[in-house]
């Protein structure tokens, strides 16, 4: 999509990372946020790690917004937001947050097969929260899966999380633009459900 030229603050810069596992919609969420920023006339860089996306591996998407963005990789200590779709995968990237950054994490773990069969043990939730606490980083944990189950479909977890983030973090993107971009990016038959999930996330984020 062509760049429309920045209509906002020339010195603004906003970095974020979305983490999760294959199948959770991490890359789609990254695309939606980056494209929404573009629609709002901002310049973007977005880079994904998707090598094993379809096979339950770790996946992340890094988004950088601002007039002077260069490298596609978020420098440690410079992320404004860490949006975690899975607790273990969120904690893995805690060092990317800046001191006043914020982690917004779905608290429902997805267990690897090697944990299910007892080969490995999954860290306790408190240990994962501790990773943020010991670095004096703010983290907000939300059971997004439970919320999506209420909507009857867990495949809209990413839209819920984007909505929830829009309530909790100061994004350089308009809420309306995020919704427009979701509409443009998800399969037609799921537009309504995704918007519902986004609104639910937004509402829950504002209330909590």
């Amino acid at each position: 999509m062509p760049h429309k030229g920045n209509q906002g603050d020339k010195t603004m810069s906003f970095n974020m990372i979305i983490t999760g596992i294959g199948g959770q919609g991490v890359v789609s969420a990254g695309t939606i946020i980056a494209e929404a920023a573009l629609r709002d006339g901002l310049r973007i860089r977005n880079s994904d790690a998707t090598g094993l996306a379809q096979r339950g591996g770790s996946v992340h998407s890094q988004i950088k917004i601002g007039e002077n963005v260069k490298s596609t990789i978020v420098h440690p200590g410079t992320a404004d937001v860490l949006l975690g779709f899975e607790p273990l995968e969120a904690s893995r990237y805690a060092h990317l947050l800046k001191p006043d950054g914020i982690a917004i994490v779905n608290s429902k773990p997805v267990l690897p097969v090697t944990v299910k069969n007892g080969m490995m043990s999954y860290p306790l939730m408190d240990e994962l929260k501790q990773i943020f606490d010991e670095r004096s980083l703010k983290s907000i944990w939300v059971d997004a899966l439970e919320a999506c189950e209420r909507l009857g479909n867990t495949r809209v977890l990413n839209s819920f999380m984007i909505g929830y983030m829009a309530a909790k973090a100061k994004l350089p993107i308009k809420i309306e633009t995020l919704k427009e971009t979701i509409m443009a990016n998800v399969p037609k038959r799921t537009i309504e459900l995704n918007l519902k999930a986004f609104d639910l996330g937004l509402q829950q984020g504002e209330e909590e």
Binding site: P2, N68, K70, H75, V113, M119
Partner: protein, 610 residues
């Protein structure tokens, strides 16, 4: 996405023929171009392997039209045979090879720097530093190829291919070149007497390329006043360098020489940069190619400028560079002379690694289970040589199903070697349909001819899955989505001279196990085709058509489940959950393949009759 931008650039340049073989992170370039193939009159194809693809593009470029070949780094090894000789004949229409190097590596068997091939073949190499540049410079690469009559290596990495950015597009100029082939034996028939003449021509061309590199606007130095340190950065590390200097607040203290036309190098520009600094850091991916040459230039002109990089340990020897890794190198060098410069360290939290697995209902997992049973029935021993594709995820626990994974087609030839060496027990090669057609047929012919006592399992899921489900000659459609003749794997195997062949569905565990045992008992090479279309892709296609996907529903009778975890440990299906020691099936993930129900020792898993 960077790959879309490269595709756009090639279309803007009026490319006529495009060929490639899928490979991460290159695959989306070709599939993007394919979407516009009819509109702009381009021929686009997934070829059977990279050498074939390169030769198709090369042949087209001899006729005067522009041609593009796309590959990941490992494919350059495969096409190198043709590449090195094609540099002797040269081309007429522009010929560009886009090589997407997985330099970390994120999803490859090795991390490889294909820029060595540009030196080896004596052809120009272009390394864009971001997505916009990739789009713009591929057009220039075609022009350069025509100017010098040489193929051009266009080298990108994951952080361009799979990066997204705002991009300014240019106008599309459809090609008006008319294809014609003019006989010129002294140029195109590379018998030794002709080759001896052409090597001189090639050396002249690469000298001309050096002059162009010297004056290229994207080989440029930004001098910081009174800087003692200069960074020479090529490709993506250039942007990382700028970012690192910004984060560290050192932009005014460090000069940067950006290199984009990196073979041949602009030696005079580098010499001047060296003269102006006491330290020079080279940031490149992934081998110290520029660094070695920079050191040699410093030595030739008698400078005592210290050249730092991967060779002297100032840059980590392995893996991709990132802004923080480059920043740390810069700070370490500056701190030599200025103790006030602090060297930053960034520590990532240590948490358990998430091991990827095969998808829920993956037919490969079922094939591996049958293979395990068959090996046990044959008394164990032997070895399983694996190949390249989704199925090499079978190496991960709990399956641990394969013993090797090296390169396309190697499973069959390595199995032959193990068998001829006298390894006892069944020797089994496991290879996917696309990999078999890429480079597995010749090893099978070889196994038959030389009487290797091996079992070959062809895991036929109908698609080139791992790289994102591209069609291959076994799919029945081509890259444009048009029906295409389907190769018969059975007939091909028979034509190779294989005497023992069985085709099974891996979802039938008993039948598949029996077929593998029978193949193992057969003296000489035997083949089992384990055929089941990739359910992920099958469901995707059918959903797009508006079909309702229906399959049997399975459930676990918790009274019967003893919690032995036999199912979890032997097929590792992600749809199987374990709660309080008992297994349950997650209906959101299960696709109803029924394999767990067949293997449960207490028959606790049952189909729910609707």
């Amino acid at each position: 996405m960077g790959n879309n931008a490269i595709a756009r650039g090639a279309i803007e340049a009026g490319v006529r023929v495009v060929a490639g073989y899928p490979g991460t992170p290159s695959s989306e370039i070709l599939s993007t171009i394919a979407r516009d193939a009819r509109k702009y009159g381009m021929h686009v194809e997934w070829s059977t392997n990279e050498k074939v693809a390169y030769e198709v593009a090369y042949g087209a470029a001899l006729s005067g039209v522009r041609a593009l070949m796309t590959t990941k780094h490992l494919g350059v090894n495969v096409l190198s045979d043709a590449l090195l000789v094609s540099a002797y004949t040269g081309v007429n229409g522009g010929l560009v090879i886009v090589t997407a190097d997985d330099i970390h590596p994120f999803s490859s068997q090795n991390a490889e720097d294909t820029r060595y091939y540009a030196k080896l073949a004596k052809i120009p190499c272009i390394e864009p530093s971001n997505v916009q540049e990739a789009k713009d410079m591929i057009i220039e690469a075609f022009e350069l190829s025509e100017k010098l009559q040489l193929p051009v290596l266009f080298r990108v990495t994951d952080r361009i291919c799979h990066a997204k950015s705002d991009v300014v597009q240019s106008e599309i100029k459809p090609s008006i070149a008319k294809a014609s082939f003019i006989k010129e034996d002294s140029r195109y028939v590379m018998i030794a007497p002709n080759a001896r003449k052409r090597v001189e021509w090639l050396n002249n061309q690469i000298d001309k390329a050096a002059a162009l590199s010297e004056n290229h606007p994207e080989n440029r130095a930004d001098y910081a006043e009174q800087a003692t340190l200069g960074v020479i950065a090529s490709g993506v590390p250039y942007e990382h360098t700028i970012e690192a200097l910004d984060v560290l607040g050192l932009t005014d203290r460090v000069s940067v020489l950006k290199l984009t036309f990196t073979h041949p190098l602009p030696k005079q520009k580098i010499a001047e940069f060296l003269r102006n600094h006491s330290h020079v850091l080279v940031a490149e991916e992934i081998e110290p190619i520029i660094e070695t040459e920079v050191s040699s230039i410093a030595h030739q002109i008698g400078l005592d400028t210290l050249v730092h990089g991967r060779l002297d340990g100032y840059v980590p020897r392995e893996h991709e560079l990132t802004p923080d890794r480059i920043g740390e190198s810069i700070a370490r060098i500056l701190s030599i002379d200025d103790p006030l410069v602090k060297v930053p360290t960034y520590k990532a939290p240590e948490v358990i690694r998430r091991i990827p697995n095969l998808c829920a209902g993956c037919p490969h997992a079922a094939s591996y289970y049958a293979l395990k049973l068959a090996r046990r029935k044959m008394g164990g021993g032997g070895a399983v040589t694996g190949d390249r594709g989704c199925y090499n995820q079978g190496t991960n626990p709990p399956l641990s199903a394969i013993d090797t994974c090296v390169c396309m087609g190697a499973s069959i030839s390595m199995a032959s070697g193990l068998s001829h060496a006298g390894v006892e027990g069944p020797i089994v090669a496991v290879i996917g349909d696309s990999t078999f057609l890429h480079n597995g047929v010749q090893p099978l012919i070889n196994a038959v001819h030389n009487k290797a006592n091996i079992t070959v399992m062809i895991l036929d899921n109908g698609w080139t899955g791992m790289t994102g489900h591209q069609p291959n000659p076994n799919t029945g459609i081509n890259v444009l989505g048009e029906p295409a003749p389907k190769v018969s794997i059975e007939k091909l195997v028979e034509a190779c001279g294989v005497q023992h062949l069985q085709v099974v569905s891996p979802y039938n565990v008993d039948e598949t196990t029996a077929a593998i045992v029978s193949a193992m008992q057969h003296e000489g090479p035997a083949v089992v085709v384990s055929r089941q279309v990739c359910p992920v892709q099958d469901h995707r296609i059918r959903r797009k058509k508006g079909e309702q996907i229906e399959f049997p529903t399975y459930t676990v009778n918790t009274d019967q489940c003893t919690g032995c975890l036999y199912c979890v440990n032997n097929i590792g299906c992600p749809a199987l959950d374990v709660t309080d020691g008992k297994v349950s099936i997650n209906p959101a993930h299960c696709i109803g393949c029924g394999v767990c129900a067949q293997i449960c020792p207490t028959r606790a898993i049952k189909e729910i009759k609707q």
